[in-house]
């Protein structure tokens, strides 16, 4: 499709497009720019929670954060968590989407079951997983114990990390799945049939034809999964581990919440938000710069 048609269809007067954009800009201003500016201004002060007094401290809040082993550990946890969650979610969603094509009977049921977790509130999902894997009462923990695996997410940071990652992925698989099923359906059957005639098996057809063609969708999903892992897994962490044990599941967004809303250390919390914003921006740039290069949009 040529872009010439698009370019010609613009407004002559400057104010109509602005007017049309206004509601959205207003929402952005109220819910993004003003809070972001406030966070920025708050990150340079330390303040008494009651607002009685505050002191301008320049970059002290940032300096304290970067020097603190707890903050660095939280960054590490976040990176590993989003990566693991991303890989797991995409992989499983892809397997399910691929299989959807091959389910002959009860495809509707199959799809519904996979989509169900999306309707469950994150807190409920978190409590569900915490209970299932509780070392003393959880049925799945008993299965693990029966297999001779020492399992205790209350003590072991690795176990807790795995549990949160699983719960977060489980909740998000359906989201990826919907997009992937749609993308796979959009792959022209003629191409697949031609390949089949040439003797390519289902697996080869998937990797050589379908996968490259759904590249843009996967790229989009990777970006969305990062956003999800970064900002929306808060409720799951809160319900499953409270960021523990020993900070093993203390992802950045949860730390912002604990320091800001539970402990009312507003300066530090604001500084963390600002750093997180920078972190997220950097990640997006990297994604579009380097990952997108390998994605082919021309269908």
């Amino acid at each position: 499709m040529s872009t010439a048609g698009l370019k010609r269809a613009h407004y002559k007067e400057g104010w109509i497009p602005l007017l049309l954009l206004l509601p959205q800009l207003l929402v952005l201003l109220l819910f993004f720019f003003i809070p972001a500016l406030r966070a920025l201004s708050q990150s340079f002060v330390i303040t008494d929670p009651f607002g009685g007094n505050f002191q301008f401290v320049w970059f002290d809040n940032f300096r304290a954060l970067l020097a603190s082993p707890e903050y660095r550990s939280s960054v590490g946890v976040t990176v590993w968590f989003t990566l693991a969650q991303n890989a797991l979610t995409i992989f499983i969603a892809l397997v399910f989407a691929f299989a959807t094509d091959r389910v002959v009977r009860g495809r509707g049921l199959y799809r519904t079951v996979i989509l169900l977790p999306y309707a469950i509130a994150p807190v409920i999902a978190g409590i569900l997983w915490a209970f299932l894997f509780n070392p003393y009462v959880g049925p799945l923990a008993f299965v693990l114990k029966g297999m001779g695996i020492a399992w205790d997410p209350n003590r072991s940071g690795v176990d807790a990390f795995l549990l949160v990652t699983l719960a977060a992925s489980w909740k998000h698989i359906c989201y990826d799945y919907i997009f992937l099923v749609a993308a796979l359906m959009a792959v022209p059957p003629s191409l697949l049939e031609a390949a089949a005639v040439d003797g390519a098996g289902p697996v080869l057809r998937f990797f050589k034809i379908a996968l490259p063609m759904i590249g843009p969708t996967i790229f989009f999903l990777v970006a969305m999964n990062f956003v999800y892992g970064f900002f929306e897994t808060f409720a799951i962490v809160d319900a499953v581990t409270h960021g523990g044990p020993g900070g093993a599941t203390m992802i950045l967004v949860y730390k912002v919440y604990i320091d800001g809303f539970v402990h009312i250390n507003l300066g530090s919390s604001a500084a963390q938000s600002v750093l997180m914003m920078i972190f997220a921006l950097a990640l997006t740039v990297v994604q579009f710069r380097y990952v997108e290069r390998n994605v082919n949009y021309d269908v």
């Binding site: 008494d48 070392p135 009462v137 209350n154 020993g246 900070g247």
Partner: protein, 443 residues
């Protein structure tokens, strides 16, 4: 159009006249006093009962009690409301928040208020560790409300079966052996269930009972330049003991979704270090034969008083004088011996005045409920020292959180007890310095 306007105006006028006529009636209306608290469930119902009784006892004020979530949430709601100039008159704040709210500049000291409103309250009669915790420059800053202290609950049958008919030993070395015996003989699955507030019942109170310094400058009482030192005291040994118990399966951490109390009341664990306020729920549903006793102490150290936990009622400034009259009446009502006696019996919290305690004793309450007296006897044991009078640390809720995180790392064997405590102290001291900087010259 014009007529509608006129009728509207006339209507408004009529309304104005009506309300002007009605206003003398309105003047006799009760003054409303907002009271935000953190007690839910059965305890919340008890609070409602107190308020109901107070409201029925006079016709000038109506106290409205609202549960705003847990202690943190109450504090956060109060801060938000204060900044929006919509704060309640009375707020319940946990003992850990003492310094933060004291120096917030948002409060009216209770003793001053009571003096100004000429309420007869014998401030010398408050149980010592309760009063000393909430005093600043010799004056009580908030009205003690729900005070507790940890005691040791134990399963009588399991201890008898293991050959300890006298129950748990008061000496840690012996107690340790008892727990291991109970576990190794298969009498109970675990020796002790770790309470959610173990940092209070098993660490801070270990420190006070054994007279160890938690921080310099008399645990912060003498100045904001206090520093934590519990990484250099016997607390290190206590943490090592807990770590060993957990590693050996002698102590269990219930974890998310399971209450530690259940592990004890179901007979899975033989003991439970918990607040005396747990009486309320343990008594209600006794599946096991249980007893309670004093917290154990080290053999080579003299046992002192334990430290309190719980919360007090703070008065927020910026309200009308007539509202403060009602606040003073309500606080006097709360502190009255009769109410304290009732509160002590129905909740398990300790009576905050000696008078209420004597009343309970006089009516023979402890003959039928001997375990109810342990807390108060333990609190009154000896004279409070600089180490056992309480904890006055700024940002203490935050540094407690840091301590818990570090302890979790120790319990997971990621850090040694010494490393974990060193890190907790380092993090806590950073928070103390921040508090000192922000409140310089105010204490």
């Amino acid at each position: 159009m014009k007529t509608t306007k006129r009728t509207l105006l006339a209507g408004l006028l009529a309304l104005g006249v009506a309300s002007a006529v009605a206003s003398p009636v309105f003047a006799q209306q009760r003054t409303e006093i907002q009271f935000w608290h953190a007690l839910s469930g059965v305890l919340g119902e008890r609070v409602d009962e107190i308020v109901k009784r107070f409201n029925a006892s006079q016709d000038k004020y109506t106290v409205v009690a609202t549960n705003k979530g847990n202690y943190d949430e109450v504090m956060n709601s109060t801060i938000a409301a204060y900044r929006a100039k919509k704060a309640p008159q009375i707020v319940q704040v946990s003992e850990r928040g003492f310094m933060s709210i004291l120096l917030s500049g948002a409060i009216v000291p209770v003793q001053d208020l009571m003096a100004e409103k000429k309420k007869q309250i014998d401030f010398g009669d408050f149980v010592k560790p309760v009063a000393s915790y909430y005093q600043y420059k010799g004056k009580l800053m908030s009205m003690p409300f729900n005070s507790s202290t940890p005691i040791l609950f134990y399963n009588k049958e399991q201890f008898e079966k293991a050959g300890f008919p006298n129950g748990p030993s008061e000496i840690y070395g012996e107690f340790d052996k008892q727990l291991y015996a109970i576990k190794s003989k298969g009498i109970a699955e675990c020796g002790t269930s770790i309470a959610n507030d173990y940092f209070w019942s098993m660490l801070e109170n270990y420190s006070t009972v054994n007279d160890q310094p938690w921080g310099t400058r008399s645990n912060g009482y003498d100045g904001l330049d206090t520093e934590f030192v519990y990484n250099k005291s016997r607390v290190v040994g206590q943490v090592a003991r807990l770590q060993k118990w957990i590693n050996d399966g002698v102590a269990l951490i219930a974890g998310q979704g399971l209450s530690p109390e259940q592990l004890f009341t179901s007979g899975k664990c033989a003991t439970y270090f918990a607040s005396t306020a747990a009486h309320g729920s343990i008594e209600r549903d006794p599946k096991i034969k249980w007893g309670a006793t004093y917290l154990p102490h080290e053999a080579d150290l003299t046992a002192r008083n334990s430290s309190i936990g719980g919360a007090t009622l703070w008065v927020i400034k910026g309200h009308k004088s007539v509202e403060y009259d009602g606040v003073a009446d309500f606080l006097a009502f709360v502190a009255s011996p009769d109410l304290q006696l009732w509160w002590h019996k129905v909740t398990g919290y300790v009576p905050i005045t000696n008078k209420a305690y004597q009343m309970a004793k006089a009516e023979g309450y402890y003959k039928d409920h001997p375990t109810r007296e342990i807390a108060i006897l333990q609190l009154n044991r000896g004279t409070p020292t600089a180490n056992s009078q309480g904890f006055h640390f700024g940002n203490y809720i935050q540094s407690t959180f840091a301590l818990r995180e570090e302890m979790e790392a120790v319990f997971a064997n990621k850090k040694t007890p010494q490393q974990g405590l060193d890190d907790a102290v380092r993090r806590g001291n950073d928070l103390l310095r921040q508090f000192e900087k922000l409140n310089a010259g105010k204490y």
